[in-house]
C-alpha cells in the first residue's frame, strides 16, 4: 500500500554498496577490516502453481484461460471444475529497485502421444520493489479436439531482469 513511502524512507537510510573499509596502515602493524555489502535479489515460488483445474473436453478444440488472479474462463463446449490457480512468485530485493518480469510466451506440453500448447502472461511486466513483492503467471491452455489421454509435462521460464 505505502510502497513508495517505504521506498522513500528507505532511500534516506540505505547505503547501496559499501566497498571495503581498509584500515590505514602506517608504521604500526594493523589488520584490515573489510566488508562488502551487496544488493541482492531473490526469486522464489510462493507455493501456488499454475493449475488449470479439472477439464472435460468436448468434441472440438477449446481453451481454458487462467487469469492473474487464478480464476478460470472456459470456452464454450468444454467443462471446467475444481480449484484453479495462477503460479505465484515472490521477489525480494532492495526497496525502490526497479525490475522487469518476463516469462516464456508459449510453452509446449508433451504427453506420451500428443502435445498441447499454453500461452503465458505475467501479471506485471515491471515492478518497483517495496517489500512483500509478488507477481503471478496465468495462461491459456489450448486443448485440441480429441486430445489424447496421458500425463503432460512442460517447463516455462520466469525471469527477473535488472536494468
Amino acid at each position: 500500500m505505502t510502497k513508495f513511502m517505504k521506498a522513500a524512507l528507505a532511500s534516506s537510510v540505505l547505503v547501496a554498496s559499501v566497498m571495503g573499509a581498509n584500515a590505514a596502515n602506517a608504521a604500526t602493524a594493523t589488520a584490515d577490516a573489510k566488508a562488502n555489502i551487496l544488493q541482492q535479489v531473490t526469486v522464489a515460488s510462493d507455493g501456488s502453481d499454475l493449475d488449470f483445474g479439472t477439464i472435460v473436453s468436448g468434441a472440438s478444440a477449446a481453451t481454458v484461460a487462467i487469469n492473474a488472479a487464478g480464476a478460470a474462463n472456459c470456452s464454450a463446449g468444454i467443462v471446467c471444475s475444481g480449484t484453479t490457480s495462477a503460479a505465484g512468485f515472490d521477489v525480494t530485493g532492495t526497496n525502490g529497485e526497479t525490475v522487469d518480469i518476463s516469462t516464456d510466451t508459449t510453452v509446449l506440453l508433451t504427453g506420451p502421444t500428443d502435445t498441447m500448447t499454453a500461452s503465458l502472461t505475467p501479471s506485471v511486466t515491471s515492478m518497483v520493489l517495496g517489500g512483500g513483492d509478488a507477481f503471478t503467471v496465468g495462461g491459456t491452455l489450448n486443448v485440441g479436439a480429441g486430445q489424447d489421454d496421458g500425463a503432460y509435462v512442460g517447463n516455462f521460464t520466469v525471469t527477473v531482469s535488472y536494468q
Binding site: 500500500m1 477439464i55 478460470a72 506440453l109 500425463a151 509435462v153 516455462f156
Partner: protein, 280 residues
Amino acid sequence: MTIQRFQSLKRCCIGLGAMASALSLSSTPAQAAGDLLVAPTRVVLDGQRGTEVILNNIGSETATYRISLELRRMTSEGRLEDVSEEQENDIERAAKEMIRYAPRRVTLPPNQPQAIRLGVRAPEGLPDGEYRAHLLFRAIPEARSVTEKKAPEKGFTIALTPIYGVTIPVIIRQGNLQATAGIANGRLEQDADGQALTFDLSRTGTRSTYGEIRVTKPGSSEPVMVARGIAVYPEVNQRKVSLPVPPEVAAQLKGPVSVEYYEPANTGGGLIARTDMVLR
C-alpha cells in the same frame, strides 16, 4: 505490492455435464526447485580488475544452475528484449567475447553460496565505447521421466514446472565516456494494472545513464516516490519510463512536481537531470 489471489470454482459449466468425449484433466502441483539469490544486481567493469557475483540456493532442495551470457537490447518502451545470434551487432558480439566468467554450471545444496568470477579481456585496439551483456542465472530443472508420473486411467494431467532466472547487466567501459539525460512529457497514465507515472527519459553521449528517479512536491525535501535502477542504454536515445503508483500516491502526485534523476550513491550520487512539471 500485494497481488490479491482468489481461488474461484467454476460454476458455469455444471449444466454441461453431458459432454461427449470425457477427457478429465487435473493439474498436479509442479515441483518448485531452483529458488535463487543473486548479488550484486549490476556489474560495471572498467580496466582489468575483475569481480565476483554471488549465487545462493535459497530453496529447500539441491539445485543445479547454469550461468550464461545473454544479449538484450533496450526498446523505446524501456523493455529489455532478447537478441538472437543472427541479430547480434559488432558491439554486442565484442561484449560477449571479452567477458570471462566461471564456473558456468554449479550444483548447490540449500543455502550454499557460490562466487561466480567475472573478468574482462579487452582485445587490442578495442574502440572506445560501452559494451554490455547480461549474465543469466537459471536453475536447470531436474530431468523427470514420464514413467515417474502415473498416467491417469482416463484423461490427462498437466504438470507445469516454472524455471526461475535472474539477469543482471555486465557493463564494460572503454575510454573516457560521457552522457547526459533529460526528462520530458510527464503524465499520469491509467493502464490495466492501475495508475502509472510515465515520462520520457532521453540520453545523449557515448555511454548509458543509470540511477534513481525521485519525485518531490514543491517545498518538501522528502520524495513522494523513489524508483531505483532506471537505465537508458546506448542503443536508445530515448525511452519511456512507466512506474506503477498506488492510488493514494497518485493523488499526492497530482499538481506541480519535480522529477529528478540521480546517479546511485556508490558512484557519486550526482544529479543527472531534473525537470519541473505539472501532473494531472
